[in-house]
């Protein structure tokens, strides 16, 4: 019969229409911004820098190795490395970034900086409501705007942050054992003959 297919299709739409009054699963839209979906843990928007201690400047994990700057596909990261070394959160002397800018108008949220960072210093944020009327200065974030505490990181990516903390703690234990061993070795060596200046602890 001509028109049978059309009627069949209409029955299908009618079923969907009526079904939307009874089944919550058929209501697929959320009325943003009044209603929001809880953010997904894996969500990634733009990077931020993690710091450990109270002071954001002293506690930055970044040691300005510039690997992320080199690997960044659209080249949106600008780093200036310090001339001097400063003790980091564990007390080891390290370089630090005197300037760390991310141009989030260029950033494409690919997470490669996070993957290549050997120091777990840069992570992905999940804040997405970043609209601004200043499209140049307002979208160029400097290191103060980028710095977020480790607690904040735990808040947005709990499982990932716990894994990172465990790894860093294990590395610290290993480094401590190594430096004690180096101190002991140099002490033993020093007992035999005058020690060369500062061999261990790097």
């Amino acid at each position: 019969m001509l028109g049978e297919g059309i009627l069949k299709g209409m029955a299908e739409t009618a079923r969907n229409f009526v079904g939307s009054y009874f089944s919550a699963e058929r209501m697929t839209t959320v009325e943003y911004p009044e209603e929001r979906i809880a953010p997904i843990e894996a969500a990634r928007v733009f990077p931020f820098l993690v710091y450990d201690t109270e002071n954001w400047e002293a506690g930055l994990r970044c040691v300005a190795c510039q690997i992320c700057e080199k690997e960044c596909p659209p080249k949106c990261i600008f780093i200036e490395k310090s001339k001097d070394k400063k003790p980091d959160a564990i007390g080891k002397p390290q370089f630090y970034p005197t300037r760390f800018d991310i141009d989030i108008s260029v950033c494409m949220s690919c997470q490669i900086c996070v993957e290549v960072c050997p120091f777990e210093a840069i992570k992905m944020d999940n804040v997405f409501e970043l609209a601004t009327d200043d499209r140049f200065g307002g979208l160029l974030l400097d290191r103060k705007e980028l710095a977020k505490s480790n607690e904040y990181y735990h808040g947005i990516h709990p499982t990932e942050a716990a894994r990172v903390d465990a790894r860093l703690a294990a590395e610290k234990v290993k480094a401590d054992a190594k430096s004690t061993a180096a101190v002991v070795a140099s002490a033993v060596k020093g007992a035999e003959r005058p020690a060369p200046p500062a061999a261990g602890g790097v």
């Binding site: 001509l2 028109g3 049978e4 297919g5 059309i6 069949k8 299709g9 029955a11 299908e12 739409t13 969907n16 697929t28 997904i40 894996a42 969500a43 990634r44 690997i67 690997e71 960044c72 596909p73 494409m108 949220s109 690919c110 997470q111 490669i112 993957e115 290549v116 050997p118 992905m124």
Partner: protein
């Protein structure tokens, strides 16, 4: 058959009156520039049409509005850094783009991929195929004038699949998930359960879609015997994917190459008979059904183990000098990446074989002699994404 002879025959097909083109008679033709801001062009694409009344006499595709230097950029950055750019080729199916590129690099360096990662890749690629076909049919029907309903049904289902992608990869469309020698993050048991739940709902969705469309008289009247692509022309022009199979040529790279682990799954390759728009529609519907069977098998058999090869390198990745071509059956056709390495950290040459662009080359042959309204449909049935055409 020569090109002009073919054209003449095409033009004479279905004409009830002698053609109005005189020897010098270009004046009788109306030239229309469709696009680049035409809603049916899926982006920015222009068709320069020469019309005789309602009939298409000439069609010149003009593209490149979205050219963003993808291949040249890739020559200046590291191998890994090209991965997020591949997401932006065919932005509907970023995961299959990732896979094709990862496959090419793995071929270049002789990298093995762990079992579990292969299964995850298959699962994600088949999900991608389903959501691509669903939305491409939705767009096709939308261009027919059924504004909204089938497209919204397709998007409702696509949303569930994108939610899965987001939970796993962190992004809905720009997934940037696969790596040379595996995948970036592992799937949790909860994710696999959620995926199984989505797969269980998919056959119902395809049934619904078919009830809605397959026997619809308007759809059949508009689609059958329109935009016919002959198998000889399809093969000669290098057409791949659902378009080629709709013309009745049995060629599926999943069956031909058995890349990844596709030889372990039981699935059939749907073939069309006439090569018209309706066959392309039907082949896509049937491919969705076959993808569901692959997904069921993969989700049942997925083993444990690592997702990244232990020998894979993230930093300091420098392949030995050589070249490689990796290709997969992307939802739109054969997607290939050709790489030449000179031993440095960047590829010496990086070339994409985009299925959308090559499938578009027969557009004129399919459109000649048909109405302007059919051109929109024929164009929609090719299923292109301009991000991939222009690169």
């Amino acid at each position: 058959m020569t090109d002009t002879a073919f054209r003449r025959e095409k033009m004479e097909e279905g004409w009830n009156r002698p053609p109005l083109i005189e020897e010098d008679g270009e004046a009788e033709l109306l030239e229309v520039a469709m696009g680049p801001h035409h809603p049916s062009t899926h982006g920015v694409f222009r068709m320069d049409l020469a019309l005789d009344g309602e009939r298409v006499v000439r069609l010149k595709p003009v593209f490149g509005y979205l050219h963003r230097n993808h291949e040249k950029i890739a020559e200046g950055i590291s191998y890994l850094a090209s991965m997020p750019y591949t997401d932006r080729l065919d932005y509907i199916c970023s995961l299959t783009n990732n896979w094709a590129y990862a496959l090419a690099v793995e071929k270049l360096v002789g990298q093995q991929v762990p079992e579990r990662a292969e299964y995850i890749r298959v699962i994600l690629a088949e999900f991608t195929r389903i959501q691509n076909h669903a939305s491409s049919i939705g767009f096709l029907i939308q261009e027919m004038g059924a504004s909204g309903t089938p497209l919204m049904y397709a998007f409702r289902e696509r949303e569930k699949i994108l939610d899965l992608f987001e939970e796993l990869t962190g992004s809905r469309m720009m997934c940037n998930y696969m790596r040379f020698g595996g995948c970036r993050v592992d799937t949790s048991a909860a994710w696999l359960d959620a995926a199984r739940k989505v797969v269980d709902g998919l056959p119902g969705f395809v049934d619904e879609f078919e009830n809605l469309l397959s026997t619809n008289e308007i759809l059949m009247a508009r689609c059958q015997r329109v935009g016919i692509l002959r198998p000889e022309l399809a093969v000669n022009a290098g057409i791949t994917g659902p378009m080629l199979r709709a013309s009745g040529v049995n060629y599926d790279i999943r069956k031909v190459d058995h890349y990844g682990i596709y030889d372990r799954f039981k699935f059939r390759v749907p073939l069309g008979d006439h090569g018209d728009i309706y066959d392309r529609y039907m082949v896509r519907i049937l491919e969705m059904r076959e993808s569901i069977t692959i997904l069921n098998q993969a989700l049942r058999d997925i083993p444990g183990g690592p997702i990244m090869d232990a020998k894979a390198k993230i930093r300091g990745f420098r392949p030995k000098p050589g070249e490689a071509y990796g290709r997969i059956e992307a939802p739109k056709g054969e997607l290939g990446f050709y790489l030449i390495s000179d031993g440095g950290p960047n590829p010496y040459r990086y070339r994409v074989r985009p299925p959308s662009l090559i499938n578009l080359t027969v557009l004129e042959d399919m459109c000649l002699g048909s109405n302007v309204a059919d051109v929109v449909l024929i164009f929609g049935s090719v299923d292109i994404v301009l991000g991939e055409v222009d690169r």
